[in-house]
Amino acid sequence: MADSGETDGLGPKDGIQQAKTDGKELTKDEKQRLRKEKKQQKKGKEKKDDKASNESEKEKKPVVSSAPPASSVPSTQPTTQKAPPAVPALVPGPASETSALADKPAKSKAELKAERRARQEAERASKQGKKGDVVGQQAPTSKPKAVPSELQPVVKRLPEHIQLDNPDVLKKLAKKYERQQIPLRSDYGYKVSLFSHLHQYSRKAPLTQQISIPSTVIHPAIVRLGLQYSQGIVAGSNARSVALLHAFKQVIRDYTTPPNEELSRDLVNKLKPYISFLNQCRPLSASMGNAIKHIKKEISNIPSQWKEEEAKRSLLSGIDSYINEKIILAAEAVAKSAIEKISDGDVILVYGCSSLVNHILCKAFEKNRKFRVIVVDSRPRLEGREALRRLVQRGISCTYVLISAVSYILPEVSKVFLGAHALLANGYVMSRVGTSQIALVAKAFNVPVLVCCETYKFCERVQTDSFVSNELDDPDDLIVTRKGKTQLEHWQQVRSLGLLNLVYDVTPPDFVDLVITDLGMIPCTSVPVVLRVKNVDQ
């Protein structure tokens, strides 16, 4: 909305002439004007003041003319006492306005501000008066009424997990965890200032230190899952989702509805502390988030007259079918489409260990395509070794390099296959850190980049950089011992040193040539279309 206001900045200048006759456009202009002015009041930048003041001066006459009729109507009301003082304030306004036109814009800034404030008071008063007005008189007053409500700045609520440098948010989070009886996991080590708004945990301080050993508050399957997440035993978007759904199946199996409660409402409430626990062990991935949304929806859609056994059975089979459709069959569909893109003699570059890409390559090999693979790996995770093992086990001939050698090896490559952690609504691909570098270098060498992703990983978030929302892994992972010496052993004592271990990064859609999904092969910019279609279906 703000964008449209900016882009229409030139339009209203033409509309000003029509403003007197066309009341509707006037209010639109008014909206834009007043919105800009609010921004100016907040930022106080001179340039914008000049721009707005120029336009507002021209508009002042029509605006002022509309304001008095609006304020005169509520003057009959006893509640409006602000309006009378606003009217005399406006009267000197036009008088000074003419002089303002002749003066430099900077001089009349204070007067303009006063006028704007007066106008806003008038609007507010008219809005108040409008509440007591007869419906018939709403026509002239409804427009000013509509204006203030439109003017309320769009309050965007940021998710709490990326606001950790705000002490209020921390307090809120602590209170929430206390209510849910989940222990709070404390951050570890010095956080690099650009990323101080994110969590950073240490693997040596697991969350299980603070819960009782026969865990009663949290289901044992969830505790096990949380441990496996934080230690990295279950890693990778698909693996985490499948493991999560497996744990939820056990939770549902062991669940009994307490008396006087409904399964559809109580079970969702039971799941909330588990999800907070898992979130603290390791931040949830987009695929996990979508899976949780799906389960919650299924649970709340259970009709109340069903018996517990029936409801549980349907939930368990629902989870099974979700896994089957969205993960297993989707992988088959992606493999089918992707195999068309692999031709004989290809040299394919893959990065890290993506379960989907490995699946595609194994299937292509089974279909007797002749190709070889270059596996690119990066520290500290070195996941490429696992991908290498899986491919070589099948008999595919592979080369292994570290990411620092990618520009050396790229002239040999004919295609790049990348896996994704999530696909964002603006077409950006969120994946393991290093993916955007590979895509960038591939673009420079004119090598096609194909991203393989199932649709259940599509996420409605919008991100253009890797700073806003990311995951910080344990910084001690970066410490390496060579020849018995560990140089970074006491890194915490060096005040000016910070270790940063990022997990994800975002790749812009300019570097991605094609996204292979289970719905087919789509360009990166069609992701919002898919999301829209999915929402309509549901």
Binding site: T208, P214, Q250, E386
Partner: protein
């Protein structure tokens, strides 16, 4: 429920008969608390609310006669077994099989430790292990035992514990007494874990996390009578046996014979949860492996896994010899920051007390006494001009003048 705690308090104390001929081992006072109190306190601190205590009738009578001694807030479910001493720890587990509904945590009554129990349990949870146990690097006992000249090292009792490179996975466990010619390690183990660290100086804390399926397995295999002596080495060996690793066994006659000989492989294979295929799928898609360098998947595809947590710092004592008993008495008060002098003790002013000493409840200590590095039990009376050094005085003792 995740775990049920089982406390084995029926031990004989065969290595300290001087003390145990009158008092059963679980009720021996250490730092003026019965020995049983320490593992119970450990369980209580960690968050257990119920414990199944397996003990003899004699101990049960002593427990109930003096309830103040065992001031634990947990619910104790006492199971009495006959005292003839034929029952091993595994037999005891078989005895209470009906009560066991989940995975169990078995603790011995003579364990005094301040370990962070979550380290052992986390290994059990994270790797879906069948067995997780606790061991500690042994410390030399500094106290001299009366009646023993010099320090005797019982070399024949050494335990050989083999762990993998990470120090967590248990690969090999044998007692020197069982090894006649030498240490032999199977080739299959070496192929899967080429680097093995073998430790000999470890103290086994006798703290085990066992899966419920193991208890069911014990019911069917009555030949196993001791957890530490037979069950644990059996499980460690079974990790690498071919039949557990390949569920799809060929119908060879050899395999059939092997199955008959073991008689238990079929039961071991039941150590798998429901939704096993789903867990398998999650593992397949996960980019994690516990080892690298060969072509096999995580855990080499084995379903049975044994883990050990080796403590190198902190207290861990098993009070089963006289030397250990004395050491424990010296250190136990520091473990729990108890007051050295119990508030109800009446101590006269001219008594010299060293900082290492502990005085129990309702004591009366008269003038001109000196108490150094000693523990004095409850309700004892120490008359004048007595020097007590390096001793442990039991409850209800009267020491006369001079």
């Amino acid at each position: 429920m995740e775990f049920q705690a089982v406390l084995m308090a029926a031990g004989g104390g065969s290595r300290m008969t001087d003390l145990t001929y009158s008092t059963p081992k679980p009720m021996l006072p250490v730092g003026n608390k019965p020995l049983m109190w320490y593992p119970l306190n450990l369980l209580e601190r960690v968050g257990f609310e119920e414990v199944i205590v397996i003990t003899t009738k004699e101990v049960y009578k002593m427990m109930s006669s003096d309830p103040m001694k065992l001031d634990v807030k947990m619910k104790l479910d006492v199971v009495c077994i006959p005292e003839d001493g034929d029952m091993g720890t595994a037999d005891a587990l078989r005895h209470i099989q009906q009560k066991i509904k989940t995975d169990i945590l078995v603790v011995s009554c003579d364990l005094i430790t301040d370990v962070a129990l979550h380290e052992v349990v986390d290994l059990f949870r994270a790797h879906n292990a069948t067995l997780a146990m606790l061991m500690s690097k042994a410390h030399e006992f500094t106290e001299t035992v009366p009646g023993q000249k010099g320090k005797k090292k019982t070399a024949e009792q050494r335990d050989f514990v083999g762990v993998d490179q990470s120090g967590k996975r248990l690969l090999f466990m044998a007692n020197e007494a069982d090894l006649e010619d030498g240490l032999s390690i199977r080739k299959s183990i070496m192929r899967k874990h080429p680097r093995m660290h073998i430790n000999t100086g470890l103290v086994d804390a006798h703290l085990y996390c066992l899966k419920k399926a193991v208890v069911d397995f014990l019911v069917d295999n009555k030949s196993i009578s001791s957890i530490r002596g037979e069950l644990v080495p059996y499980l460690v060996r079974k990790q690498f046996s071919k039949t557990t690793n390949s569920p799809k066994t060929k119908e060879d006659s050899e395999d059939q014979n092997q199955k008959k000989n073991d008689g238990s492989t079929n039961h071991e294979l039941v150590i798998s949860s429901r939704d096993e295929p789903l867990l398998q799928q999650a593992q397949e898609r996960s980019c994690w492996n516990d080892h690298r360098g060969d072509m096999s998947e995580a855990y080499h595809g084995g379903k049975l896994r044994c883990y050990v947590h080796i403590m190198d710092q902190g207290l861990c004592y098993r009070v089963n010899t006289l030397a250990a008993y004395i050491e424990a008495n010296r250190l136990a008060p520091k473990l729990f920051e108890e007051q050295a002098v119990h508030p109800t003790a009446v101590i006269s002013e001219r008594c010299q007390m060293g900082s290492d000493s502990m005085i129990g409840a309702l004591c009366q200590v008269a003038d001109k006494t000196s108490i150094k590095r000693s523990t004095i039990g409850n309700s004892t009376t120490v008359k004048e001009k007595v020097k007590v050094t390096n001793s442990i005085i039991m409850h209800g003792v009267t020491i006369e003048e001079g």
